[in-house]
Symmetry: none
């Protein structure tokens, strides 16, 4: 009857996720929300984990689309590209809290069953950051010791900003946009190729 129940399940799950959180999400709840029996969900997803994994996949793809778009805008300016990637990343997290929660906040235990092959696919996003970082290092416009480490460091700063914002933990007196911009700049400034290291 429903043209695409699978789609409906995925979308509904995403919304429930952001409203009630992962912990309180149950198959029954999803079923109730979509107006189908719980059994019907199993027609489209092998089990709860499979459903979440599908959501993760989608999220990773969407994020990838968003980030890739950036890449083309600044093909020759690694710094500008990195900056734009950061903005996009944070924007994605704030605009898609549902996706973001399953994608990056799920407990490792649940991720164990996530197929390794998909992990690789998920890592493509990080690779876009890595490419920009490496390019900046190669051109000497960014001071990069270890590109791998540097990439993760940038990512973790962005992730911290997104999660604190989503959890509403950031001081309410701080303007959200200002905070985001400050966080990104701050992180990028860490790459400044300096005459003098300051922190010994």
């Amino acid at each position: 009857m429903e043209p695409d129940l699978r789609r409906l399940i995925l979308d509904t799950t995403r919304h429930l996720l952001v409203e009630d959180g992962y912990a309180s999400l149950s198959m029954r709840k999803i079923a109730r929300a979509i107006g189908y029996s719980a059994t019907s969900i199993y027609l489209h997803f092998e089990n709860k984990d499979a459903l979440f994994h599908a959501l993760i996949d989608e999220g990773m793809d969407r994020l990838h689309q968003a980030l890739k778009a950036v890449e083309k805008v600044h093909p020759d300016d690694p710094i500008a590209r990195l900056h734009a990637l950061c903005r996009r990343y944070v924007a994605f997290g704030l605009e898609n809290p549902e996706y973001y929660e399953v994608m990056f906040m799920l407990h490792p235990q649940h991720m164990e069953r996530y197929p390794a092959e998909k992990y690789r696919r998920a890592r493509r996003n990080l690779d876009l950051f890595a490419a920009a970082v490496a390019a900046g290092g190669a051109r000497g416009v960014l001071a990069v010791e270890d590109a791998r480490v540097a990439t993760s460091v940038v990512w973790s700063a962005l992730h911290g900003a997104v999660t604190l914002l989503l959890a509403r933990r950031v001081d309410v007196r701080i303007d959200e946009a200002a905070f985001i911009e400050a966080a990104i700049r701050h992180s990028l400034r860490g790459f400044v190729p300096l005459p003098e290291p300051v922190i010994s």
Copy 2:
């Protein structure tokens, strides 16, 4: 019989949390661990949330103790102090994974009932960072535009590092200690009072 059952409950819960994780923690399990009936817990805590809130309070206090200790070591060097604060913060998170989770990652929904007054108390920890940042700014050793924002930015970077590490999301080929140090340095380098802004 027990001089302070409330104390015992809190300690036991904390240990169970660190050892077995949040998801598997139940009132029954706590009761079994302390050797009292589950009902007894309700004599000291209104419900599970109240128990967790008490735990969060304690966690914030413990973190505060840990951070305050640092303060005295470098009373006159804001940069060293900030650096040490960061290290301590990350160490605390990694040493008390599930504790950290309860403190900072609990779904907002659960936090709604958390009294605003306690939120303020929890913010004392951030104040220690803020003080160091402000001191550095005042002395001109750190380039700080808005101390409030800067503090939150540093915190969010640390939080990102902790959560990614706890979720085992950081590339396994990266040495954990190296990653932490890089993340902290990177964040502090963002404060370098520079002749030249790089990101326009």
Copy 3:
């Protein structure tokens, strides 16, 4: 497409039964195994019980084939025939554990719907035993008071041996083959027309 899907269903179900056991057998599983939809099974069998009843019929037929083969080997020696029938019976039970279970151990409740007419057909197997017993009695080589009773008695001894073995209840220190042979001999010796032992 399939020339005889009914046939395929029965065979597959039997195999699944022998391999995975009764408890784990479901219509879905059968459907998957035959490569048809679950719905298709209902085109050939009214419901699960009907399928099982058909299976019981077949089992009875198969057992009948096995036992009849014996009959011809010893047409003139009732004792040898009876002995061989017993061996065959036990062998059949042990070789088709779960099949045997469905045939003889299904709860009466499930059997209520089993048509009385089929019961009669099932009884043909017992008749083979009865014939041997009667023949032995007629020839005076077996001491038989009431052939009907005697037949059931022999059968119940065999059934007891099979079921205890299938349930792994027989002392593990006893060799299975030795136990079977002892059980059969013991039962046959009950027919000894004294003072002459017949089975050496």
Copy 4:
């Protein structure tokens, strides 16, 4: 409220067992039958298996009481004792079909969790048979090659009779009592030390 809910659960379970069979027995069904919530059952039994195991224990004990009583009646006549043991065994099975089903008809898979220590206790019943068989062999009134095997053989004959009767598989034209007596005699006659018939 209920003086002994554990008792009530055990008794109710037994009755449901004989009425509906093991396969269809569920914790909820038991709960409904006793007028308590399903959860309450878990206050007295760790899980479904534990409940069944308790039932097995009780059954074994009751059977043991019944068989032990026999022992004293014929202390010096192994044959009479064995005969009486057999009668009692069959009588117990027919009078306590509920117990009998859990005790001897449960699937091996469910028995795996049955503590080994209890298995030993359960074997006491077989030991009573073994003692009589051995005594008869020692006195030369029973022809016993291997007492262990002989005991199991007798038991399996009795078990076969009980289960066929319980499953209503025995020809309805046969008088139940006559069948039982014939089965027992037949089995004992297998022990006849020829050339003298012992059981008249």
